[in-house]
């Protein structure tokens, strides 16, 4: 974990709700895809946790969905703004049990978090399929970005407005050697119930500190109480008691 100032380079709307923020600063503590950062938002007391979508040199990419005052403020910050970040938080994904053809399933605001993982898996020579799941067509983002990396991208919408009509669980029908997923808890629980192969699930939670001190984000797992921030946010399949 490292506490450092970052400069906002770009704040780009991807959809009506989701912004992509690119930040420059000391990224040395960011060591694995799927780790997260805690951002001190002007006017808010607690930091806000966001998965790192990608790290490239001294630049971090975050996807922020407007859900309340903190994220509203972040999405309206101009380029050049300085933000205080805690970086290098959480365990991140491991590529160890990916097999040759990993399937990445992203739901809603969890889609962005798969970008860096996708890049790492492709760099390791894997054949990656990314299933991006949204409620409707106007929420779709990151399709072209993931295609540009070289992943086979499939889009699912619940209302059938774009891509295949269906939900994240429908994507499990795609052939795969392993599963990586990030999205709402209900989506992860459904996937975990159906998937029997190697799986890694990235959870989201309301956090206090983000570094393991406050016990604010504890979940129940087969091995006992675990902190999403410190022991996760990535948990193996069949570990979480949903």
């Amino acid at each position: 974990m490292k506490q450092t100032p970052f400069t906002l380079l770009e704040n780009t709307p991807l959809t009506a709700e989701v912004h992509q923020l690119r930040l420059r600063g000391d990224c040395a503590a960011v060591t694995a895809p799927g780790q997260f950062v805690q951002v001190l938002v002007p006017g808010q007391f607690l930091r806000r946790p966001f998965s790192v979508c990608d790290r490239s040199g001294d630049t971090l990419t975050l996807c922020v969905r407007r859900v309340g005052r903190g994220t509203e403020t972040l999405c309206s910050l101009p380029a050049g703004a300085t933000l205080d970040l805690l970086t290098g938080l959480g365990n991140g994904f491991t590529l160890d049990h990916a097999g040759g053809a990993p399937l990445l399933i992203g739901g809603g605001s969890g889609v962005g978090a798969l970008y860096g993982l996708c890049r790492a898996l492709l760099a390791a020579g894997k054949s990656v399929t990314a299933a991006l799941c949204f409620r409707s067509a106007e929420q779709i983002y990151y399709v072209n970005q993931l295609k540009a990396l070289g992943a086979a991208v499939r889009v699912y919408t619940e209302d059938g407005g774009a891509g295949t009509r269906g939900r994240a669980t429908d994507a499990l029908a795609l052939p795969h050697s392993s599963l990586y997923a990030c999205g709402p808890v209900a989506m992860l629980a459904a996937l975990d119930g159906l998937e029997s192969g190697p799986a890694q699930l990235s959870l989201e939670a309301r956090m206090g500190c983000g570094f393991g001190a406050c016990m604010g984000c504890t979940i129940e797992t087969a091995a006992g109480a675990r902190r999403v921030c410190r022991d996760g946010p990535v948990f193996p399949g069949k570990a979480v008691v949903w």
């Binding site: 974990m1 506490q3 007391f45 607690l46 939670a205 206090g208 500190c209 406050c214």
Partner: protein, 311 residues
């Protein structure tokens, strides 16, 4: 420039003490900075058996503060003594405040006895003020009689100083403070969090799964300061003042109100280096207010008749 204070007979390099529940057992912070710069710290509230705590969400934002409903999640006293304290011994070389919780007077006594035997423990901080559990915590601290009963039972069982941590969720905190003093308490900690809630207007239900939680952070600082002031005038035993402290000037205010030491709580969660930075800023802040010896200003804002306070 002298920042030393004495808490229940034990010297501290400075009065800054991260508050229970915001500092774990110290290890997360020790990975970030040398926590030996602190006066001491109060460990996570510890019960006899391991506790999972309340369901999530346990955290909510509020103006200038936060709510929590963690519910005393902890690994239990035996695991703390077997794992947490030995790990802490490698990185922290000062006595800690062991925060003792229970759901019966017997449980408080058993946990306190085990902590009392640890050479790493300097003080027992008896938590009769957690607002997030049923049948324990605040249930004992809300009335003078039950607070006194826990205090007396723990005092009988241990050798180390007993500091009782009080809840602000009462009509007359001074009456409870006096009852604890009369029952043998060596010191008092105040305040624990203020019972509070938030509602999610979209979901039309409380944000916290527990419904209510405890409010902390800068929003509560003036309330905490007022209660430290009132308790200082009611008792002679030392007070650890806490509640929303987030800078060295807040520490000075707490001391002037009557605190001997000062807890730093929610600030640690927003900024993991907050307690270290407050310690570092003490000398320049003392200089700004013309303070040479920090312990000289304890209770210094009280004018008129002042009772003689013990250290």
């Amino acid at each position: 420039m002298n920042t030393n204070v004495t808490l229940c007979g034990i010297p501290l390099d400075n009065p800054v003490i991260p508050a229970s529940g915001t500092f774990g057992y110290g290890l997360e912070f020790a990975a970030l900075y040398d926590i030996n710069c602190l006066g001491s710290f109060a460990c996570k509230g510890t019960t006899e058996a391991p506790r999972f705590g309340n369901p999530g969400p346990r955290i909510a934002e509020s103006a200038a503060g936060m709510l929590n409903s963690v519910g005393l999640q902890n690994p239990g006293i035996d695991a703390v003594l077997a794992h947490e304290l030995p790990a802490l011994a490698k990185v922290f070389h000062k006595p800690i405040l062991a925060n003792v919780c229970g759901f019966s007077i017997d449980e408080y006594v058993r946990v306190a006895e085990k902590f009392d035997a640890s050479p790493q423990v300097g003080w027992l901080e008896v938590n009769v003020s957690c607002p997030n559990v049923h049948g324990g915590g605040m249930g004992f601290g809300a009335a003078p009689e039950s607070a006194a009963a826990v205090t007396a039972a723990v005092k009988r069982a241990v050798k180390k100083p007993v500091i009782v941590k009080l809840t602000p969720n009462v009509t007359d905190i001074a009456a409870i403070a006096r009852a604890c003093e009369d029952a043998g308490a060596d010191g008092l900690s105040l305040i624990n969090t203020l019972l509070a809630m938030r509602i999610d207007p979209a979901a039309r239900r409380p944000v916290l799964a527990n419904g209510t939680g405890g409010l902390s952070g800068p929003a509560v600082f003036p309330v905490a300061l007022r209660m430290v002031w009132q308790v200082y005038e009611a008792v002679r035993i030392p007070i650890i003042g806490m509640g929303g402290v987030s800078c060295a000037a807040d520490v000075i205010e707490m001391l002037l109100a009557g605190a001997t030491a000062v807890g730093v709580g929610a600030a640690n969660l927003r900024d993991p280096c907050a307690a270290r930075d407050i310690v570092a800023a003490l000398p320049e802040t003392m200089a700004r207010y013309g303070i040479e010896t920090l312990s000289d200003i304890i209770g210094g804002a009280h004018h008129g008749e002042r009772r003689h306070h013990r250290m």
